[in-house]
Amino acid sequence: MTIYGTALLAGCHLLGIIFGELIGRSLGMTTNVGGVGIAMILLISLRFFLHKRGMFTETSETGVQYWSALYIPVVVAMAMQQNVIAALRGGPVALLAAVGTVAACSLCISFINRLEK
């Protein structure tokens, strides 16, 4: 059943967020700390666990894959509701941060790959 996949995803999502809230509280913050990342690790582990026991059918997987495929469209929708006008007032910050990042990372890649014999 497709819903099993989506329900598994929902369960991991909620558990991750709850853990994130708990970590946040224990660090003295009201914010969620790493909830999404924890949810992802939960999903990877659970998928591995269930797959090994043959408890997760291909039909169930489509219930997760659909949402995974929707992530770019969701990000596009997210982009459409950003406060771009306010961001542009920030000016060249985004451009410089991006260029600086790519330059710094390129140097690291080049250095590490030159170590390979």
Binding site: T31, G34, V74, M80, N83, A94, L96, G100, C105, E116
Partner: protein
């Protein structure tokens, strides 16, 4: 009468309307990607840029802070692109990671991944600082955006960044992805992109899945899976470290 009906229908079916609008934009950006950039710039990156452009138009039209979602017909975008569905879809992408293949990526992939999280973050934070952002939340959000355009808003939402800083953070990530896509084939020699191992290092450090997969595809198709495999961990690790370790580190320094 027609406008009245349209208004009512789009209001009662906000999310459905959003699906249709995003679908049309994706179709359009796929066309632009293939015909105008010859596949050099990935459709998803163009779609995001169009989205940011429309957010600008929406903001100009309404004077609101939610971009196109403030315009009558497009209110459903706020739900589709809101925190709930965004995080749900991002968690779902973890499904594409195969643990047994990940093990083969080995320690060098992990090192590159960690460097690829910390180096962009530091550069982003320093530039944010240089431009007058002195609060830990804004600096962390912009730094996280330099990791990927997903990590930026996820981190920003978690630590309570303002919408304009979030937009700046997304813009940083999108610009970074586009630079990686466009410059990778040109920099392939300098980066020594020849072997699967070098592609894994690249995937870890260059970050965004879209940037890495498009950049490698334009360089050497055989290298794509190796780079993408490591890059798929990027968003997860960024989302884990961004609002936690990295935010606390910045907070401690400010």
């Amino acid at each position: 009468m027609l406008t009245e009906i349209l208004e009512k229908v789009s209001k009662d079916n906000g999310l459905i309307m959003a699906f249709a609008v995003v679908g049309i934009i994706t179709l359009l950006s796929g066309f632009i990607s293939r015909k105008l950039t010859l596949g050099r710039i990935q459709g998803s990156a163009i779609a995001i840029l169009i989205g940011l452009g429309l957010a600008y138009v929406g903001g100009k039209m309404t004077g609101g802070s939610k971009g196109l979602a403030d315009v009558t017909y497009f209110g459903g975008l706020a739900l589709m692109g809101g925190n709930m569905l965004r995080d749900f879809a991002i968690v779902a992408t973890a499904f594409e990671v195969h643990p047994e293949e990940a093990k083969k990526a080995g320690w060098i992939g992990a090192v590159a991944l960690l460097l690829g999280t910390v180096v962009p973050f530091i550069v982003g934070v320093l530039i944010a600082y240089a431009f007058g952002y002195r609060d830990a939340v804004s600096m962390t959000t912009i730094g996280a955006g330099a990791i990927t355009y997903i990590v930026g808003p996820v981190t920003g939402a978690a630590i309570g960044a303002s919408s304009d800083v979030m937009a700046l953070s997304i813009a940083t990530g999108v610009i970074k992805a586009i630079i990686v896509m466009v410059t990778t084939p040109m920099l392939a020699g300098f980066l020594r992109l020849k072997t699967p191992r070098s592609a894994m290092v690249f995937g870890g450090l260059a970050g965004t899945v879209s940037g890495v997969s498009a950049g490698l595809a334009a360089t050497d198709r055989k290298l794509v899976p190796y780079g993408a495999l490591v890059a798929t961990f990027h968003t997860g690790i960024g989302c884990l470290l961004g609002p936690s370790v990295l935010f606390l580190a910045v907070k401690a320094l400010v």
